[in-house]
Symmetry: C2
Subunit: 156 residues, 2 copies
């Protein structure tokens, strides 16, 4: 309801508020005809969020290893290792991921990450990925239809 | 670990991933020497997130009412009414809020909102506030020290 008021002697109050840290996340959805491919795609999705992969060339290759207590844990640690590759030396942006060992009995992964070190000016700065989360994580395995999907929420 | 690889016949994989809706929130923290003032400040904090209040002039005044079952509910509905004032006719941005009735027995608020309708070009577009939430909401009432604070997380 609109009400009358006088604009004379209108005083504005002092500011007594602040904005506290804002949190955000995005959900990665990746798929493949094997679970291994879905994992690879998920890792590439993460790198694709950090920068535009079209600007990244394949200059070098690093190998990472990940282990887990179950499939979700394995996915988590796999992505976490990739994130670490980007966050510290060699600051690698992976353009292509190739899992060379995908041991579902022992829950172990070895993966080759092809790409190059992140370089401001050459690579557009995407969104900083702060952490991988277990929140609402899903691993869908439809062996009959060769359909494998993973859903991972990452903090940005 | 860096590994050797051949750049010859290097193939990039097909893209099999997508990014699903990203969610974000920000926490408003407002305070005052009375609870009423903390509520007013919290409402102004919300408007201040939608645009820069320095660009808003006081041209009109609307009155809103809010009720709750408890203090948190009252704060929620108070902010929700203010959000509604912005989201539909008159699209009002409140620069100053003045609670004229603050009935803690019946948990009722009447508030005057001084400001003007949002206008693109005149007002910088801040962040869209999608919803008020009850998440981690806090109302601190320290009567002895005349210190009142509210914390509200809003979805953006």
């Amino acid at each position: 309801m609109e009400v009358e008021f006088s604009k004379e002697n209108f005083l504005l109050p002092e500011i007594k508020y602040e904005y506290l840290d804002h949190t955000a996340d995005v959900q990665l959805h990746a798929w493949g005809s094997t679970l291994q491919e879905a994992f690879e795609q998920c890792g590439m999705a993460m790198f694709g969020y950090m920068t535009e992969l079209d600007y990244v060339t394949v200059e070098t290759c690093y190998e990472i290893e990940a282990k887990g207590d179950d499939i979700k844990g394995l996915l988590f640690h796999f992505l976490d290792e990739l994130l670490f590759l980007f966050s510290a030396e060699p600051y690698l942006v992976g353009k292509k991921l190739e899992i060379t060992k995908f041991d579902m009995d022992n829950l172990e992964i070895v993966c080759r990450c092809y790409g190059e070190p992140f370089e401001l000016g050459k690579h557009p700065q995407g969104t900083e990925v702060k952490a991988i989360t277990y929140s609402a994580m899903e691993v869908v395995q439809d062996v009959e239809r060769s359909n494998f999907e993973v859903f991972v929420i990452i903090d940005i």
